[in-house]
Amino acid sequence: MTYGPARAIPGDQIRITTNPDTEPFWQAAKEGKLTACQCGGCGHFRMPPTAICPECGSRAKEWPTLPGTATVFSYAICNKNPRNGEDYVYVPVVVDLDGAPGTRLNANVSGCDAEDVHIGMQVTVDWTPIQDGWVLPNFRKA
């Protein structure tokens, strides 16, 4: 099927909330830095950020700045704006983050036609301002 250009969902209709475990991720995003939660004890990465390392039980967390590149692990093609049902082509992707083995983000990809998105495609982070002054990591075709 032919869909045409993939667009990110407009940021003004996206809202997030945070808690003390997740807020450092979103604060880094505000500064244009893509990070992931890394255990300060054993170095294991986990996303979304949680209170305790599932591997070693440590509460110590580090927030290294990642390269900002990723690989598409899977995706869907959607053609209605989820807010108002109007025609709107967007591609939710599940990506594997470079520099943080085993972690993923769910985002939108743009910079290509929806039908050109494929598993294994290289993408780079693309920041989308959203409600309440937060910034969301989306991705563009690399």
Partner: protein
């Protein structure tokens, strides 16, 4: 090792309301429909609803997705004099058949004598399951999913289906065959919502809602209620019908599946799976049986690809071979012989969530009971064992084997 509670309890009564297209059950209330289903199930069992002294829920005692069951409220409605068991499995529809295992726990602990498992569902516009994920208020956990626009269960499942297609060469033709094979079982079912035979051309013309999934890959949105009564085998002997014996029951799952498509962190090969491997292995270990021993499989079908992936996880075929298994016609029921086709095990002889009605898995239990009683509309000849599965979703998911008495 055989399960310690094997063959010690049975489902003795099944009851339901009519099935309504989404929203059409109004002005009936949830408790009205729940009570009718309970009373019908008790009548089927040959007991009074006032003998119910246990409630074994799933889906966190949810009635649909925004309403909640409350045991005291149901007691008030139905006049049950006392209850001594009120428990629920957590999460959602994945726990449906596992609730029969929960019922068994209450009965074997001598907490209760007759326990009901039920679901009632009324999808008024604000309660539509199809939009519940997207309409949920943002929280710190779903803030890592919701902004991607994966707002409905179908969107979420399409991402899993895509990965399965990528890894194993699975085709949309196989998803279509799941829908067509089970649609073929509803033409003679008076209560089924979709009864017309489905052609491949009609399937291919179905609108793409979340590529690679079409509207017809999504289950129905219906209203209604279904209840089943579980009791001990000694009491079951005095009930109206032959008991549907609880031969094995398990709920749970493993960390690699976890929150599933509310998370998307599953490593391969778990990502492109149904998350059922763990409970499948448990019920096979409990029973000493395997997929080939099942006479009929009632597989939770909220989305057609998840049927294919469950067939792999339960071992009806090898992992990655679901496409060929499905396309060889092995899900089909042959009414002429009362058996499967091409050596397969008939799947969803009631039409399932895709075609008959969607009451979050309860219709699969009812069909399992009717099959081992020998009273099913599409009766599998000499059915001895029926497998029932709960919806692939956040843990726990669950599995049940019913046996003919």
């Amino acid at each position: 090792m055989a399960w310690v509670n094997q063959d010690k309890c049975a489902i003795v009564g099944v009851g339901a309301t009519d099935y309504y297209v989404r929203g059409k059950s109004w002005p009936r209330t949830i408790n009205d429909m729940a009570a009718e289903a309970i009373m019908n199930a008790c009548a089927d069992a040959g007991i009074s609803h006032k003998q119910i002294d246990g409630f074994s829920y799933y889906s966190t005692a949810g009635a649909g997705y925004l309403d909640k069951f409350d045991t005291a409220s149901l007691m008030e409605t139905l006049g049950m004099p006392h209850i001594s068991w009120s428990a629920t499995l957590t999460s959602g529809g994945g726990g449906c058949p596992g609730a029969i295992g929960l019922a068994t726990a209450g009965l074997m602990n001598e907490d209760c004598t007759y326990t009901v498992t039920l679901m009632a569902l009324q999808q008024l516009p604000q309660h539509r399951l199809g939009v519940v994920f997207g309409a949920a208020a943002p929280n710190p956990e779903n803030s890592f999913l919701q902004p991607s626009g994966l707002v409905g269960p179908g969107h979420l499942m399409s991402v899993l289906a895509r990965r399965h297609m990528h890894l194993y060469g699975t085709t949309q033709d196989a998803f279509g065959e799941v829908v067509m094979a089970t649609r073929a079982n509803t033409h003679n079912r008076p209560k089924a919502v979709r009864k017309e035979p489905l052609t491949k051309d009609q399937y291919d013309a179905s609108v793409m809602l979340a590529d690679p999934l079409r509207r017809l890959d999504f289950c129905l949105e219906t209203d209604g209620a279904v209840a089943v009564i579980t009791t001990t085998m000694d009491r079951a002997k005095d009930c109206r019908h032959k008991p549907a014996v609880v031969h094995a029951a398990a709920h749970g799952g493993q960390r690699e599946w976890g929150r599933a498509f509310a998370w998307m962190g599953m490593p391969d090969p778990h990502f492109a799976s149904s998350g059922h491997k763990f409970t499948a292995d448990r019920v096979w270990a409990q029973s000493g049986l395997s997929a080939r021993d099942m006479d009929v499989a009632l597989i939770y079908d909220h989305f057609s690809p998840m049927v294919l992936m469950q067939l792999e996880d339960y071992g009806f075929c090898e992992k990655g071979e679901g496409n060929d298994y499905v396309l060889s016609g092995k899900l089909r029921y042959d009414p002429a012989t009362g058996k499967g086709v091409n050596g397969g095990t008939p799947v969803n002889t009631h039409g399932g969530n895709l075609n008959e009605a969607y009451i979050i898995g309860m219709t699969h239990i009812v069909e399992g009971v009717e099959q081992v009683r020998g009273t099913a509309i599409n009766q599998v000849k000499d059915a001895e064992f029926a497998l029932v599965s709960g919806g692939p979703a956040s843990l726990p998911v669950s599995s049940l084997i019913l046996r003919k008495d």
